[in-house]
Subunit: 386 residues, 2 copies
């Protein structure tokens, strides 16, 4: 079967973007991706938008974005799977290309999170859990992940400091990423002293909402080779799995079964194993989520995620897989629909060797791990240089 | 290239469904489709959900539905393109199968429109137009389509009675569809006397919101033949086009350019022409929309849509294409995400010859025409019996 390649990437600044509408954010990222390729706009056959619609005032943003990018009458549609919407868009584009339906597809993940008022946003985000039986009892996002953290600490002896070392690493790299929301390194002491959110989490355990957009342009093998030349990065493994929305029905709260299964699929499809991965972007919406990802993706044994970060393995040259060296959700900010596409942009940059001061040496195989909700969905994508 | 076939269909009752959550609506349709096929649930590789997320209290319904159907850990994701979300889900499933990613995919269009309060729904629906430059001036859905009606009346002499004859036809067939919201025929006099909404529209020019769900199960050619036997209906043409969100930028307001283009693509792909179509489900959100569809799809010449209905061509045995003989959006009700999938169910039933008192004789080729927003998106799908 023919391969699908990434021929262009674009990434806007994440943060409070009161200067731009959602279509303007999308345009920034799209324009950069076209220039990066470089290809004319007329090469684009279709776009897939990754976004969560309800955070925007504009209804049905895909159409507005398509018009704003000057791409009508070509097709567009939106994919939504909560915080993994961007990766679902990439998966959809992969299928669109492999099916022969389209040859070159731009995937744009975008989200304006600061358009609605804070109470409106909180009311929406409070209903991501299972509303019939769980959310009504007050389990919001931090509370759900705090349960995972407590379970992990209880089962494996994971410590508060190990959790916060994830934050320290990701803020360190956020400071090396001009597109990140937070650009200052933090110390473990500072993280420890931050305000409590949901025990055991304090502020520095949690990522922050942000506005932002990112774009990847995918092409079929023929066009990827002819348009993308040497800089093509191949999307060779696309894994996706789901788990019960209700965490009460999960076998345990120390990992995400959907992540394990999505990883297995993606590794098999790309014919790689966890040992081949040099660089990864994982879904660190809370510090515990990154620690569980080390384990679910097979970077370390089950229960060893706390030690993995304590021993600095996920730092480049730490002897493990370099993880979230662009700052992750934690320091870059989390514009929901944009996050999965932002992850893909960083991996492509790393595999091209164009990541500058964040470059992981010898990066030839990388992955993205993008979680929707509390692990109801997980998408794992494996990218290869050759 | 191998074909994609429909092997099962399921359709719940449309209306005010205070008896069911959105996942329960989805389950009704899914269960019926499994029984219709008939196949065990274990054959389903993935689901694609067509829905507009913001009308639900539950965030990210795809995951909740997947769990409720007992389909975790298989993949699911949601597609959104306003009122065409169900057709985007079908198109996505077609690509998923043709790409080799999945073999059997259940597409579920579902929408609970009566969960939020009426003011909340109106506030959301009022922002489907372009919010930056248009909606702020009061152009809601009926107002937008009323502009189309006025333009069509002005340019082509289309009359009020011709518009309302669409409603008379569709209510006549709604009365023959036990799943329809409205099950009483209406007279032209009754339609004429209904309350004004947005000139020239009165109540009977407008479809009604409803709760509901529908399901189609698609399979690759091998499985379609082995699982579906004689009853397979093939999805041979999948067209999709977009147009500017802002109607101010459209060349005219007498048709939808996205519909013309989507139809052209779908006809070409399925190797048919408008003359081959025996039965069609078109997007009659307002009476003028069905009249424009006759023209955009090539069932009659441009400007002749009013005469087409006046001469009863879209009735079975009327000498034209039988249109919306299940009641259309007008009489069935319009559960936004469900509509495109509901259309596909009716066409499959017709092509199988299982439509009972609504059966169009000799129906071997049919199509669905599903419009998102005010024609920002249009999806045209051509189905064939052989």
């Amino acid at each position: 079967m023919s391969r699908v390649g990434v021929i262009g990437i674009g990434h806007g600044k994440f943060g409070r973007r009161s200067d731009a509408t959602v279509q303007e954010l999308a345009f920034e990222a799209f324009r950069e991706a076209l220039h990066d390729a470089p290809i004319p706009k007329s090469e684009i056959d279709a776009t897939v938008i990754g976004a969560v619609p309800e955070y925007h005032k504009q209804r049905s943003v895909a159409g507005v974005i398509q018009e704003y990018l000057g791409l009508t009458p070509t097709p567009t549609w939106l994919t939504e799977v909560a915080c993994a919407s961007g990766s679902a868009a990439i998966r959809t584009a992969w299928m669109a290309i492999r099916s022969g339906m389209h040859k070159v597809v731009a995937v744009i993940g975008c989200q304006k999170m600061t358009e609605l008022s804070t109470p409106e946003i909180l009311a929406l985000m409070g209903r991501v859990g299972e509303v019939q039986w769980e959310s009504v009892f007050g389990t919001t996002f931090p509370a759900y992940y705090a349960m995972f953290a407590n379970a992990h600490m209880h089962s494996y002896g994971t410590t508060r400091d190990q959790l916060l070392q994830v934050a320290v690493k990701n803020h360190f790299y956020g400071a090396r990423n001009p597109n990140a929301l937070f650009q200052k390194p933090i110390t473990l002491e500072k993280a420890r002293a931050s305000e409590p959110v949901a025990s055991p989490f304090c502020v520095y355990d949690c990522c922050a909402n942000a506005d932002g957009a990112a774009c990847v342009i995918l092409a079929d093998e023929f066009r990827a080779r002819s348009l993308g030349g040497d800089r093509v990065v191949w999307l060779d493994g696309v894994g996706c799995a789901t788990a019960s929305m209700s965490v009460l029905k999960r076998p345990n709260l120390t990992g995400l079964p959907s992540a394990e299964q999505a990883a297995r699929q993606a590794y098999q499809m790309a014919e790689v194993s966890a040992r081949d991965i040099k660089v990864a972007e994982v879904h660190d919406c809370f510090t515990i989520a990154e620690i569980m990802a080390y384990e679910d993706l097979g970077f370390c044994e089950k229960g060893q995620g706390g030690r993995y970060i304590e021993e600095r393995k996920p730092y480049p040259d730490g002897g493990g897989v370099a993880v979230n060296v662009d700052g992750g959700l934690k320091a870059k900010g989390h514009p929901i629909g944009a996050t999965g596409v932002s992850m893909a942009c960083e991996i492509v940059k790393q595999l091209r060797g164009e990541a500058g001061i964040r470059q992981v040496s010898g990066a030839d195989v990388g992955l993205t791990h993008n979680v929707g909700g509390i692990g109801q969905y997980c998408f794992v994508h494996v990218f290869r240089r050759n």
